[in-house]
Symmetry: C2
């Protein structure tokens, strides 16, 4: 692995570049992004040069697709047949099944391995790039086939991720999408729904305390990345939302009942378990 | 104000005692709690002495009821006629309407002013008491009648709250309860519902990132305080939950639509507004 291309040099792509450097990568890093992002990324020392997608796809032996999901899908369609036969192509998209399907159809010679780093920041953009962004975080890998896990390309990718301080977790793409509907997409929708309802509750700010601030923080997220996620994981999100609204309806009928205590106990146990397992 | 009684010397009652001291109160502070809490509160220097409720109610000219809501209601029923005619009686209960109703019926001579400090901590108990707990926080006051606001008792209470660094906000009890259903009680139920659903999603911990940890933190709360809250604010909570589940249902149908962007924009604006107003 000597020539790396980062498609979409934002927070994630820029951080991956910096993390690679910190982990000891000495090859060349090429950025593919808008001219103004390339300029900022060069100025910040995140990449070594900018190039167009076709050039980067032809020349590089490691390709990191870190656009929003629909941008990743478009790049796979466009460059899938261009990527080198010795290239490792991976992505950082928040949903994996439609990306996997696209990669199967369009990536002809290269090894494609889906990825999703469980890391982020409230602010986006290459100027927020952070070599330590992935440190201590899970990094989901969704190989297209089980036998890919044994390949040298997969091992190379997985090793770099470990050298960045992250923890690779192997899942299949469908299972990933089903799970993140519960752990990421529905939390976002709960926060947005609450904040949207609050927009119509006059004087709510008079009694706003830490609880509502915590529950509405995700609602500050801009819609643009979410549109891609919702439109590529619709059925899983709808199923998870149905589970949560059914639970809310049942709790609504139990408000005066000690039986709600059992729900609280179950929820507290699950919340504790998530915390124990966070850095497994 | 020379003799203060704290009924229920937990995190809030203990912090109120410490905050009073730090604000310059030099009189005596009496605690009314279980023997073991009194022992801990004396050892921590939070109170000067322990007493039974009847003695404290008879002797003190400032009474702070900081039990869970149903405990406050019981104390008002039991000591309402005992409180001195020059006493200021206030409480820190999380719901206000049923407490106000009880105070109207049982507090015979003293001035009663409902209260609700918008402050807390994850851990409870007198050992967590913190003189700075109310600093920079809103402190809701719900007088039983508008004319009480001009009384010297009300002014005394309000001044001490300001001297603690908190910001008094006057609301009526019904309005308070309607608003906190949206800003506190529904956020708790959303967090508990999500965590409870997650308890049945095997392997969810594999992809748990910051979003789900944030949204399930409230689910760690023990049920005992919440039982009192849900059972004394049932109708408001049901109405607020209905608003949120209706919003979720409508978002569920819009997942593939750009129209959801308008919902996100509205929600983000409301979330920002809550943050601007927090320390008004």
């Amino acid at each position: 692995m000597r020539r790396v291309a980062i498609f979409g040099v934002g927070l994630i792509g820029g951080s991956f570049a910096l993390a690679l450097r910190r982990a000891g990568f000495t090859g060349e890093i090429t950025g593919v992004s808008s001219p103004q992002t390339i300029k900022a990324a060069l100025a910040a020392g995140v990449i070594d040069r900018g190039a167009d997608g076709d050039t980067a796809a032809r020349e590089c032996d490691f390709v990191y697709l870190s656009q929003p999901v629909l941008g990743i899908i478009r790049a796979l369609e466009q460059y899938g047949a261009v990527f080198r036969n010795d290239a490792i192509v991976t992505d950082a998209g928040s949903t994996k099944a439609q990306i996997a399907e696209t990669a199967r159809a369009y990536v002809k010679k290269a090894l494609f391995v889906g990825g999703h780093p469980m890391a982020g920041k409230e602010r986006r953009g290459v100027q927020e790039s952070d070599a330590a962004l992935f440190e201590g975080r899970k990094y989901i890998l969704t190989p297209l086939a089980e036998e890919h896990v044994g390949s040298s390309g997969f091992q190379t990718l997985s090793s770099w991720i470990e050298m960045m301080g992250a923890v690779p977790v192997i899942l299949n793409a469908d299972e990933h999408d089903r799970l993140v509907a519960y752990t990421s997409h529905v939390p976002q929708l709960l926060s947005t729904a609450l904040a949207s309802v609050l927009s119509e509750v006059e004087a709510a700010d008079k009694v706003a305390g830490p609880a509502v601030l915590e529950l509405t923080r995700l609602a500050l997220s801009p819609f643009d990345v979410w549109y891609d996620i919702f439109s590529t994981n619709t059925a899983n999100i709808q199923a998870a939302l149905t589970d949560v609204t059914a639970k809310l309806e049942s709790m609504k009928e139990q408000l005066k009942s000690e039986a709600l205590g059992a729900e609280f106990a179950r929820a507290a146990a699950a919340a504790r378990k998530l915390r124990e397992k966070e850095f497994d």
